[in-house]
């Protein structure tokens, strides 16, 4: 049996009575995503399977699956995060429902019209330095806003960043792995996308490892490097997870300017600093990176 919900647009219309123009967008992680219009605005409608729901949803003993806890966290993060570069919660917060014997959770979020950066890189090629600077400024704004909430995103990568049509702003998606540094207990095992892991993300089962927003700066650095050069700084197809780990924790990639002639030296330095193996060599505050990027 698939872990993804099996839903048609008609069923979605049944579950979300106020929604119209419903279309399947596709699967995303453990969720199926539709788009629909509610009160004249387009939203993404996300559905995930959860274990069979108890009759009384108000019971305090209601067991929350990992999927549900992550969704709860994603919803809360989107609701609380103030950055315009972090995707926002839509009119439907977290709800639990059933249809055709499927126990589901659903929520809505802003539907970003545009393409993700992975798609853009594949179709249009690498980004120019000005685009890299804008990307850095926008996503570090989202990282800062998350950190203001005591959270780290843990899954920053080209596929999770959209370039919005119209204003060309970059928006960070998928706060499902967002990690609450204080009082967190779920998903202590590394989560996210390994090629974009920071070195400390691999070691996070070690409680003494310092994990903070600087981990997200590393992942953003990998993303910026890849988009600037068209090459991933650590990963090549066919790599084993062991070799990927070794490269992320020990390999110093060449400066982007050695791959892209004319690439600015100061932007080189910033990206390489973000890729520092230890948090203490990266930027201590997001504002420092914002200042550096702004001066480029």
């Amino acid at each position: 049996m698939s872990d993804l919900p099996n839903l048609t647009p008609e069923q979605v219309a049944q579950l979300v009575p106020g929604a119209s123009d419903i279309e399947l967008v596709g699967p995303g992680g453990q969720k199926v995503v539709f788009k629909g219009t509610i009160a004249g605005e387009q939203y993404a409608l996300k559905f995930a399977k959860v274990p069979e729901l108890p009759e009384d949803l108000e019971t305090e003993d209601f067991p929350m699956s990992d999927v549900a806890v992550r969704a709860q966290r994603e919803v809360k993060t989107m609701r609380d995060c103030t950055s315009r570069h972090m995707v926002k919660l839509g009119p439907i917060g977290l709800e639990f429902t059933t249809i055709d014997d499927q126990s589901l959770l659903l929520f809505s979020e802003q539907f970003i019209v545009g393409r993700n950066l992975r798609t853009i890189l594949r179709s249009d090629g690498r980004f120019d330095p000005a685009q890299i600077v804008t990307l850095g400024l926008h996503i570090v704004d989202a990282i800062q806003a998350l950190w203001d909430l005591g959270k780290i995103h843990r899954d920053i990568k080209p596929a999770n960043i959209m370039r919005r049509e119209g204003d060309d702003e970059y928006v960070l998606l998928d706060a499902g792995f967002a990690f609450d540094v204080v009082g967190e207990s779920l998903s202590i095992a590394p989560v996210g996308t390994p090629p974009y892991f920071s070195p400390e993300q691999f070691a996070f089962t070690n409680r003494r490892t310092v994990m903070d927003f600087r981990s997200d700066l590393f992942s953003l650095g990998v993303t910026m490097y890849e988009l600037a050069t068209g090459q991933h700084p650590f990963w090549t197809p066919g790599d084993t997870s062991r070799s990927l780990f070794n490269r992320i924790t020990t390999h110093n990639p060449p400066p982007p300017s050695t791959i892209v002639p004319g690439f600015p030296q100061d932007l080189d330095d910033m990206i390489l600093r973000m890729l520092g193996k230890s948090p203490h060599v990266r930027y201590r505050r997001c504002q420092q990176l914002i200042d550096a990027l702004s001066e480029t």
């Binding site: 400390e200 310092v210 903070d212 110093n252 390489l272 230890s278 948090p279 203490h280 201590r284 420092q288």
Partner: protein
Amino acid sequence: MALYIQHGHGKSDKIRTALDDGTIEGVVFAARNEKKDNLRACVNEIREGYDGCEMLLDPQFYVSTLTPPNDRYLPEYPYYEAGRTASDFTGVRRIRHYAKETLDYQVDLGLDSLVSPTVIFDSFSDRWHQIALNLADASLERRAELTDPPPLLLSFVFKEEALAATEEVNRFLDTVTQDGWNMKGFYLIVARSERSYNQRFEPSRLAQYLYVVYVLGQINGLRVVCGYTDFVGILLRAVGADAFASGWNQSLRQFQRSNFIQRRPGGQRPRERYSSSPLFNSILLSQLQDIYEVGHLGDVLSGVPLDSQITGASDPLAAGWTTPLSQQHHWQTLHALDESLSGRVRPDLQSTVQKLRDANGLYTLLEAAGVQFEQNTGRDHLREWPRAIGEFQRMAGLASP
């Protein structure tokens, strides 16, 4: 900012002389060596007479855990109590109390920066290290409660062997550079393991110390004041230390835990020394005489104003070279070396390595001419320090491709 005087026993007019001379820009007072009232008077005197001189107090809280302590006037200070053990650091309330007492005293004294209380630790993973972090954390909290307080320097005193554990040092750096740690900087002391005073420093440990200073000062933009240093302070400045402190005797130029533990009185009267920047070392006056006799005096002179005392005499032994002159000359020498730094890490390291090579070559020349040096005036450090710099450059990603 650059060279500070490390205050200790018997200050007489040394601080004023150095300030008048323009070679020092700050003072790190030692609570242990000054009566409370005297310290206040001294702070006021410097405040009135020397605008721009930064004053810090090393509260020397760390002496409270040493037994039996050689604590002199420390029992006069409100935050100090001899004989504290690990159990005295259990519980948040107690830790906060220590931080409050120590910082409030410094605020009352009107110092330019506050220095947090700390304990000495042997390893970046032992319980004392955790206590030191807890004291630092409590100091940040206490400062946040004060109205318009001076900036805070977090103090850490660690044994040089602790620097051997790279991963632990990195974890320490990850911790203290976290966003929530809102200090101005650090006051760092490395407790040396050398039995007697000399310039030696095991290369991998020195490399790690340079890395710590570089990461905090250069990368993270924090102030770093390195206490109890000597010529090695030039290396620390080259990699990003804001200031280094050196005192008027050997125990104030190299921190040894044993100096803070009671011992039988005794010891030799110090022999007069001459600090030579071309040799990157302090040598004995008798050795300077030997150098003069083999015709190389000009090669080892530091080129600072007090050299005139030597050059104006018929020979070094006839120069009337006294201990106070030697001390003042030492600061002139360190100050001049420091002034030659540009504030940019790569070129400063390059020029420092060149000076160390030149110094080594000069030693070779002098030895060939028949000058004999002792172990603590010799050149072992000139082989160790370039290795340390090379290792540091690799660690910091500053090595030439």
